[in-house]
């Protein structure tokens, strides 16, 4: 029985480790042989209102093979746009001015613009203008600031309020205030509204 379990565990481990960068990221020749998306600027209607849609050029493009996610989360803080991408990595771009359309990689972020987060399952990202970047998976959030990282206590995803000096840890059907670098005692629990969840 033990040997069967060991075999299953080994097979499962092999399966997991088989997902390497080579599997997730297409080979250079496959990218070169494919046709870029070439999205076009357009206008469309939202009810009676017109909205303008502009595709931005990524100076640091992101590719994955079918079956793997290229982008799992995004946050905007200050003049930066942060993306959580596959394989536990986050990147940052400088936001373009309204007259320009290129997202330029922020090479000061992480290592040459790419931050390796500890949790491979991290899918969400939230940032603030003070340079804090919060990477969260389903149950935990890690705060990165420059070269330091700290685990946010408690379970859940930390969402910073854009333009504010606080955020909320969302988990266990409640919102807990996070400010001054730590969780506060104030929290909100939904009364009959169903489960408080976390999207994005």
């Amino acid at each position: 029985m033990k040997s069967i379990l060991l075999t299953i565990l080994l097979a499962f481990g092999t399966l997991i480790t088989a997902w390497s960068n080579d599997d997730v990221i297409p080979r250079a020749e496959a990218i070169a042989a494919s046709t870029p998306l070439a999205l076009k600027a357009t206008t469309t209607k939202l009810g009676e209102h017109e909205i303008k849609v502009t595709p931005l050029t990524l100076s640091y493009p992101i590719f994955t093979n079918k079956g793997f996610k290229s982008v799992t989360g995004m946050s905007i803080a200050g003049n930066k746009l942060y993306l959580m991408i596959g394989m536990g990595k986050a990147i940052a771009y400088h936001l373009p001015t309204p007259a320009t359309t290129t997202l330029k990689l922020d090479t000061d972020f992480g290592t040459n613009g790419e931050l390796k987060v500890d949790e491979m399952n991290a899918k969400g990202i939230s940032a603030n203008a003070q340079g804090d970047v919060f990477a969260h998976g389903g149950w935990s959030t890690i705060r990165y600031h420059g070269n330091t990282k700290t685990e946010v206590p408690g379970q859940g995803a930390l969402h910073w309020r854009p333009g504010k000096n606080y955020g909320f840890l969302v988990g266990n059907n409640k919102l807990t205030l996070y400010a001054n670098g730590q969780l506060q005692e104030k929290s909100i629990t939904a009364n009959g509204a169903g489960q408080i969840g976390s999207a994005g």
Binding site: P36, H49, I51, P55, P61, V71, I188, A190, A193, G200
Partner: protein
């Protein structure tokens, strides 16, 4: 939407039929300003908009954004009210998936 005491103020989305324009097949991302709530529903390939007090404003199918069968898990408003949408879609006829970011403007006129 709940208040600071956890009481429900209002709910958004068509609870009877996810396939209606104001329904959600799944909420993959949500973001808001003090005027607008935006929801990305990748399963049904659409963005759905509401006023900050919960009134349905409209739905924008992904194809109206110039996309073709995209995955759209990331949505964020910038402080100036510009909306950014990120996701990915396949390069035509290949398994290569390319990430995109769209800048969406025009929400200042919404009331």
């Amino acid at each position: 939407m709940i208040d600071a005491k956890g009481n429900t103020l209002f709910e958004i989305g068509n609870k009877e039929d996810a396939f209606q324009p104001d329904g959600f097949c799944w909420v993959h991302a949500v973001t808001s300003t003090d005027r607008v709530i935006a929801v990305a529903d990748s399963d049904c390939r659409k963005l759905v908009f509401f006023t900050a007090d919960g009134r349905y404003l409209g739905t924008v199918p992904a194809q109206d954004l110039g996309l073709k069968n995209p995955w759209m898990p990331a949505l964020a408003f910038a402080p100036d009210g510009t909306l950014y949408l990120s996701g990915e879609q396949n390069r035509e006829g290949t398994p290569v998936r390319e990430a995109f970011v769209l800048r969406i403007e025009g929400f200042e006129a919404l009331k």
